[in-house]
């Protein structure tokens, strides 16, 4: 396997600090720790000091200017955990403070995506002239999810002297707030109250509870001090400190290790007991053990996930960073999913959105189907809350998934671009169906998938209505939040059609297989209901404009005021931060283009010419103010054989976080865009589609690339796809023979018998 280049940032720029905290965070799907300076960020240096456990939340009231019936009263939000990042270093009487005083001689951040750790190395000259090199290595263990390890090394470059280290675990923490950005929480609140401080012999325990949701968090810490250093622990009101002191001689390095175990009451019956026993266990092993496990797990990950692109190292770096980040962010239990910002920040308050199913899920489905199944299991687990939400929204039947949530209840404080996004049900159904097509896992569908499909189908049936012989769905919001509360959103109706049809088919398939017991027991779905699903699907109204020859985004969109995006001053993007929503709703302007997305996901609904006209029409209206927009345009540009444009969109999408293109990566990485980047390559350039009929590829190659390749799973077979100027090769690395279509031509591949076809042209 080729080496994966680490992500390296050199040079010290205090204004980039919060951004780098996000990019160099360490996470494992359960736990995420931002890469904050151990010594603290002085006033004026942007910093969001945080650590998070996936789905570990507190609730807080939602206040409204005017509260109407059914508006959610409370909201769940991810909680900033007990801070375990702080280490203060004293060289004799001088505090190590590279961001505040003295002189930074060298500054380097590194994310090693093969070893799975982040390193910050600083060479610093103190005001008194002492030169020191401090290297901190951090790891959130993939093998032991509760474990975070911080390894701190100090090297004396030009002096000898007494050195003191104070490592602090602080329980008095708050969440970050920015009241002027709707994408960040508006209120800074304390969510965690310290319940117990217990110093241990060479470490300590902090037990806290969330104030409103009453969840428990236990954080156990263990120190391995530098050889020859004394260690003593100090318990304070809300903190524990480990003090280490000893001599450091010129040219010499000393290092200490801090093991931190986080255990929460959503996963552990006895968080305190778990934290203490895991601490004991993990500190008993040599540090090396977790480093080896980390490397092994990542080796496997890369083997079945890595995309390679020849001839574009910068893009390769972005791709590696994206896939690595996805792997480190995804929840591994039915309690959690993929927060919009992963575990790298508090943006969007740790909520799960539709992005998971549409943008992130396909990557896992085709590379780590177990993780994909986990994401679906989470949706199944919150079905009761979705049913309850449907009732609150006036539906007699079915389940309405909350637009943004952690444990299930609706957490949106603005329903027009929240609960009104009924397409989420279709997105979830689509993911379940894709899972079934790609894995053939009928048992999972029998026990979980079919129930979700039936409940979502019921909701669409209840939400819509018949007018003449067409089935219509009014008063919804599509993914494009620059149009809200519209009738017959094309994307929503297409998804509803897919769901209604898929649910009916799935129940029938289970009945044929004698596996329909669980879904019938759980839903009581009847044959006449299934017929009603099919009838509504068959007659679903999908708005189409004859004059333009395109699908309308909704009933009204194409008659709205046109807006020439070139007339908008550059500084007014993203528009949502500069225009009142009503102004946006009044214009033909899209944050992202629903119709273009629908043409990708439900491509059999339109012919190629319609897709092309739609693409062109909506491209002119779309601001890409949503980070989810460009990857979809990339996929569809590739689909329509506009490879140069596809590549441009792909690049923008792939480098979003590393370039901080939206200026908000400080609040966390954009996991959905990362998933979209994978999609833009596989579904875009390689033309990967998964349908009821099977797997297909239509590979194309951008002129500036010499080739690209990626692995994927199909049922129980591991495939590898390589695209070069010579054509497309599909190999089977292991498993059964696979039938697929390449450029519309059916081929079969099996171990030792790859297929090789020319690229699609035109």
């Amino acid at each position: 396997m080729t080496t994966i280049q680490p992500l390296v940032f050199t040079g010290f720029d205090p204004h980039r600090n919060a951004l780098e905290e996000s990019l160099f965070h360490t996470a494992n799907g359960y736990l995420g720790v931002r890469g904050c300076p151990e010594e603290g960020a002085p006033q004026g240096v942007p910093s969001i000091r945080g650590a998070y456990i996936n789905a570990f939340y507190d609730t807080k009231p939602i206040h409204y200017g005017e509260k109407l019936y059914g508006f959610p009263e409370t909201q769940q939000g991810i909680v900033n955990l007990t801070d375990v990042q702080t280490v203060r270093l004293y060289l004799e009487d001088e505090a190590y403070a590279p961001l505040a005083s003295g002189q930074v001689l060298d500054y380097k951040r590194e994310l090693d995506m093969q070893k799975g750790h982040a390193i910050r190395t600083v060479r610093w000259r103190s005001p008194a002239g002492r030169e020191v090199e401090v290297t901190v290595r951090r790891m959130a263990s993939l093998a032991q999810r509760e474990l975070f390890i911080l390894h701190y090394t100090v090297k004396a470059l030009n002096f000898s002297g007494r050195v003191r280290l104070v490592s602090r675990e602080e329980g008095d923490v708050r969440n970050f707030a920015d009241p002027n950005d709707p994408r960040v929480a508006g209120q800074s609140l304390q969510h965690l109250a310290v319940k117990e401080i217990r110093p241990l012999e060479s470490g300590g325990l902090i037990v806290s509870r969330t104030l409103a949701s009453n969840l428990q968090l236990a954080v156990a810490v263990g120190y391995t001090p530098p050889a020859g250093f004394s260690l003593w622990m100090e318990g304070q009101t809300s903190a524990i400190e480990g003090h280490m002191e000893g001599m450091l001689y010129q040219g010499q390095s000393i290092a200490f290790t801090k093991h931190v175990v986080f255990a929460d009451s959503r996963r552990h019956q006895d968080p305190v007991g778990t934290a203490l026993s895991l601490l004991k266990e993990t500190t008993a092993h040599p540090l090396m053990r977790y480093e080896v496990l980390q490397r092994e797990m990542l080796q496997q990950f890369w083997q079945h996930s890595r995309i390679t692109v020849s001839g574009d190292p910068a893009l390769q770096r972005s791709l590696d960073f994206s896939l690595y980040s996805l792997y480190c962010s995804v929840g591994r239990d039915a309690v959690s999913s993929m927060p919009a910002k992963g575990l790298s920040g508090e943006g969007y308050e740790g909520h799960y959105f539709w992005d998971v199913e549409i943008y992130v899920f396909p990557f896992f489905l085709m590379t780590s189907p177990d993780l994909a199944r986990g994401l679906l299991s989470y949706r199944h687990a919150i079905l009761p809350a979705a049913r309850e939400h449907a009732r609150a929204m006036g539906h007699q039947k079915g389940a309405l998934y909350a637009w943004r949530t952690i444990a299930g209840p609706e957490c949106s404080g603005y329903f027009p671009s929240g609960s009104a996004q009924y397409h989420l049900g279709g997105d979830i159904a689509h993911a379940f169906l894709q899972y079934y097509y790609a894995t053939d896992d009928l048992d999972f569908m029998a026990h979980k998938g079919a129930e979700v499909l039936v409940e979502v189908a019921r909701l669409f049936l209840d939400a819509g209505h018949w007018q003449g012989d067409s089935f219509r769905i009014d008063a919804v919001t599509g993914p494009d939040e620059y149009s809200c509360i519209v009738n017959n959103n094309f994307y929503t109706n297409a998804g509803a059609q897919d769901t209604l049809r898929g649910a009916a088919r799935m129940v029938k398939k289970l009945q044929e297989a004698g596996k329909a017991g669980p879904v019938l027991a759980a839903t009581g779905v009847t044959p006449s209901e299934l017929s009603a699903f099919e009838r509504a699907a068959d007659h679903m109204y999908l708005p189409y404009d004859e004059a333009l020859g395109i699908h309308a985004q909704d009933d009204g969109f194409l008659r709205l005021k046109k807006l020439d995006l070139h007339t908008i001053p550059k500084e007014n993007y993203p528009l949502l931060l500069h225009y009142h929503p009503l102004w946006l709703y009044r214009h033909q302007v899209c944050k992202q283009a629903d119709t273009v997305l629908a043409h990708y996901l439900y491509e059999d609904l339109a012919d190629e010419d319609t897709m092309r006209r739609s693409y062109e029409y909506y491209e002119a209206c779309t601001t890409h103010d949503s980070s989810l927009s460009r990857c979809v345009f990339s996929i569809m540009a590739a689909r329509l054989n506009n490879i140069d444009k596809a590549l441009a969109y792909f690049r923008d999408s792939a480098t979003l976080d590393l370039d901080d293109a939206h200026g908000n990566t400080k609040d966390g990485i954009h996991t959905a865009t990362m998933g979209g980047t994978w999609l833009a390559l596989t579904a875009g350039f390689a033309g990967l589609r998964i349908k009821q009929g099977g797997l297909s590829l239509s590979p194309r190659l951008p002129r500036s690339w010499t080739g690209y390749s990626f692995p994927m799973m199909w049922r129980n077979s591991a495939l590898h796809v390589t695209v070069t100027g010579d054509g497309c090769q599909v190999e089977t690395l292991s498993g059964d023979p696979v039938c697929l279509a390449i450029n519309g031509q059916p081929v079969q591949v099996s171990p030792g018998h790859p297929a090789h076809l020319p690229l699609k042209v035109g």
Copy 2:
């Protein structure tokens, strides 16, 4: 002039207390004092203790679940004033507490609408057996707006003894809150801070400031104690008390008077000086003087305003109450207008809405044109804020009036049924045009009216757009808040058309009259702009459904899911308190029917058959959950000659507050419904219309009535209209000859030469 029966409620029902506080409040357009029990309301007896000055507000932050660009950050709300209602009476050692202890022998509330005061009389037996009759008379002076007089009489029925009276002015007051009703403020907050307590020789002064808006309020009080009673004043931290003590003998009555002067810094440069000098002046006069003035002013009011209905005393009482309440609630300066609840409560936070122009204004226009002009002057005065609001909402030109406001800025915390109601501009323009048609006051139009018309027309031109050869206005909300953010709301577009056309005409008329200087200076309107107004008006898109032969409420309404209102359980009304807005938006259901209202206001847009079909179609969809709905249905039922139905709607509308039909009169009276009641009689039964072409009537008579009559002003002539079974008679009481149309037939009336025509049939 016939006697106007007082409104009398007898019998004691503690649960009706808050309701009666509203109904028996005393107000004069500047000041309003709820009719709260002087002795206080014990726990369990609903009470909203309050007094208000029109347009005297504090600001408070608006909190949002999700704050988007342009959402207002603060909100103005009417302030509950220094409480001057409290009087405690002690009979020897027993406190007078009819709502809490002892036995109420007789309980009577009376509103004398000729004398202009409210009286509460209680006969009570104390736990120790003392029987007393306490009569409190209250008056908010119409002659001296700052003055409130409380006259308190105690009669010993079966005992003699020492009596003590403690009358308290309390500065530590708060506003009322009910977080679960969107029609009432959600947060109880202190808004007034006491700055000075100054006891005077026989009274005192309390000076306060609003906490956020920093407005000043001075309240000066003067006592005239019962003869033979001692009086001493006590200043406390936030209050002043007047203590009176003396002997009361069986069968004897004693009485004290409290003069209270309120002066605020929105009207007075030196509120303290004003309050003190006005107190001196008003207490120097005998009480009788203000009673006489009050009666004289009301006599005039009734003379030029009273509607009489023969054969229905209950309805007559409701009508009298409605018109009296309107007169006592309307602002008399350009600082204030008509709060939705008058000055009788805090409902809707003392804000001014569109109701003023559409429901309340016509009554004043036709009975007290000076007051009508005052309402328009208020709109002109807040034009700068409306311009600013337009910019915030993304409009380059024009003025967008705030949906709800006191001093101009938008105070709505939910824009879909707030700022999105662009029809407000049309409503205001309509009122200005009606004013001009009825008064011929071209000078007012030159200096104020035309500027408002031009700025509102500009806004509609900027908000709308051309599609082909029709001018369309998207993303607005009509008066019916059960549909929000729709395209081409018929009512809004009709109002925009009226405004655009009216603005162009008015500027041209001023130019012809050589009076265009002020409007050109204020707006810089150009001939090409006027042409653009006219062109947009001429091509305004007014949605019409060919199949149904009716105007559609908006582009989408007639294709929404139908809702059979009979399937909704009775307890689920009003729907807004039982269904999520999205559910409402998805159905063909109206809180009030925009199209029916449009057919009344802009009746020349549709033929009779279309109006009838519209009426019938929308009647089946309308819940009348808005108190503004029934009067409009009454008008249109009369217009369509369905007189029985018109009468039923009229009754419901007229008795809304006295019957507490919406269950929320405790929060204040419904002034707009009261105006609507006047409209239902004059515009409904009498068919009164005011258009560019002049005045017209089409009188009809409900079968159960023997007749009705009403006075009105037209230009400088006082007219009186009498409708009986014999026909309709129009007399001129004073002024120039008037040309008008009765049943389409032109007639001229002049003093001594009435017109008499048969009633319209069919």
